[in-house]
């Protein structure tokens, strides 16, 4: 790596060296190790393990539920971010602080309490059970857990964007005869869209990888509530390393693609900035 040191500050080579060394030991070697290990197994065998019925069902459940949860987060997150950034009301600061609660609360605790709440005998589950809705141990439970875990992403991605929106642009739209709904659709929403998409992608990435909360709420029943990370755990518990590696590889490649798309999104969303 060549460096253009215009700042004249010391320590570049030392800090960069340590950064690369540590990154190598903790991230690059382990991630590379998985790829090397996979390459040592016959491709057909890996493909069979990664794409058998049980795995496909797990992917469908993982991606389907993650997609639904991230979409819920996109809608609800936009609405909450708007309320928190635009309006002044009692309790706003506490609500704002609470948004990060799913980040701060360990997923095991989140899973534990959500499972209890939505249990057919729980506070909320009993009400839903009366409507014939069963949450725990079903895909609905997965969606519930993933929605909880992903809630802060869209809100936090949007808040600074909403705060920097030019109020005058909204006034301009009104002076040109646009009513609030039209202004929201034509002027505000396009400005928020890249941030919503970024938050959505981050919530989705988090949801796809989530294990802790889901296992408590939905369990680990193949074809019904077994998500891809849970499938990896099942393989490991049965000492079927190749199966675990095959599924992990699919998840790892997907999370890399998601990371890439989030980065591209962020670059794209800055195009209207002056």
């Amino acid at each position: 790596m060549s460096q253009r040191n215009r700042s004249g500050l010391p320590g570049f080579h030392l800090t960069l060296g340590y950064t690369l060394l540590y990154l190598g030991i903790i991230v690059i070697i382990p991630v590379g190790g998985l790829f090397v290990r996979a390459a040592q197994s016959p491709f057909q065998e890996l493909w069979r393990l990664a794409m058998n019925d049980k795995a496909i069902a797990a992917y469908q459940l993982t991606f389907g539920c993650s997609l639904i949860a991230a979409s819920i987060n996109a809608v609800v997150g936009t609405w909450i971010a708007w309320v928190l950034s635009r309006y002044e009301f009692p309790g706003r600061r506490i609500a704002d602080a609470l948004i990060d609660f799913p980040f701060a609360l360990p997923t095991a605790v989140a899973g534990l309490t959500l499972a209890k709440l939505f249990d057919p005998h729980g506070w909320l589950g009993s009400a839903l059970a009366a409507l014939g809705i069963q949450v725990v141990l079903t895909a609905k439970g997965i969606i519930l857990a993933l929605t909880f875990v992903g809630l802060p992403f869209v809100v936090r991605a949007l808040q600074p964007v909403i705060e920097q929106l030019e109020l005058e642009a909204e006034e301009a739209a009104a002076s040109l005869g646009a009513h609030r709904g039209y202004t929201f659709r034509r002027v505000i929403a396009p400005a928020l869209f890249p941030a919503i998409l970024t938050g959505f992608a981050m919530a989705f990435a988090r949801a796809v990888g989530e294990y802790g909360s889901v296992i408590f709420v939905a369990g680990n029943k193949p074809y019904v509530s077994q998500i891809a990370p849970a499938l990896i755990v099942s393989y490991l518990e049965n000492f079927e390393y190749d199966g675990a590696i095959a599924v992990a590889l699919v998840l790892l490649i997907l999370s890399m693609l998601l990371l890439l798309s989030v980065n591209l999104l962020e670059r794209w969303s800055s195009r209207f900035l002056r």
Partner: protein, 299 residues
Amino acid sequence: MSAIVRSRLAATKKSRRGSEEHPWARRALIASAMVFLFVILVVPLVNVFFQALETGVMPYLRALGDANTVTAIAMTGMTALSSVALNLAFGLTASWCIAKFQFKGKALLLTLIDLPFSVSPVVAGLLYVVLFGRQGFFGPWLDAHDIHIIFALPGMILATLFVTFPFVARELIPLLESEGTEQEQAAMSLGATGWQTYWRVTLPSVKWGLLYGVMLCNARAMGEFGAVYVVSSNIAGKTETVPLRIFNLDLGLGGHVAAFAVATLLAFLALVTLALKTWLEHRQNQDLILASALPKHEH
């Protein structure tokens, strides 16, 4: 910046008929958002404490005083302490070279630092099983030398390190970038050495953000479940952290009151983290306000 502040004031103070939501629409939006947040955030939190204390204080304290729970707390303390220390050292060095210097491949480096955020914790755990497990690359060698990594504390620390890897660095990089390099250059022009400059100029300017990064890193390290679950043998009193203990108790080995009792520890940790975060943000804002109050030319 001042224009934004002014227009935000305008938004809250002036009535802007037609260019903002109808008061009733606004009230409905606020009320529904608060109800949603209450149900999805507050109720689950209250539920943790409610369930833990359902049968009274004594069973609660007994569950917490259980020898295996105490061991789990110690295990969690050890994993968290070592991951925070190592990732803090990494965060400080990485943020220095990334924020203060220009070099080729910086974007790639940043992306790699972010990678652990998007990798499933289960996959993270598996990565170390593949390296150090009995069937892994170094498994036979480790076995021969009687070194235990997987299903033991070192593996649990490694998995936690991976999962919490970006926290401190990610918090510091944007802060240091926004500070620029002028202050450091000024300090060095006044004869300060590199270390003096770092300790007396660079670190104080980002201290709140640094503390926040450490807090987040710690909360995640103490609460990590999936990654640790994969690399731990999950034996009570030996390789059980607090989150694993909650899981095992909930499976029926200790009853749900005990599981919730242990869970209150982590819920409390989450609340402290949130409170500290709010306070730190407040401090950071104060510093920013003070900095922007310095006389400056308008326009």
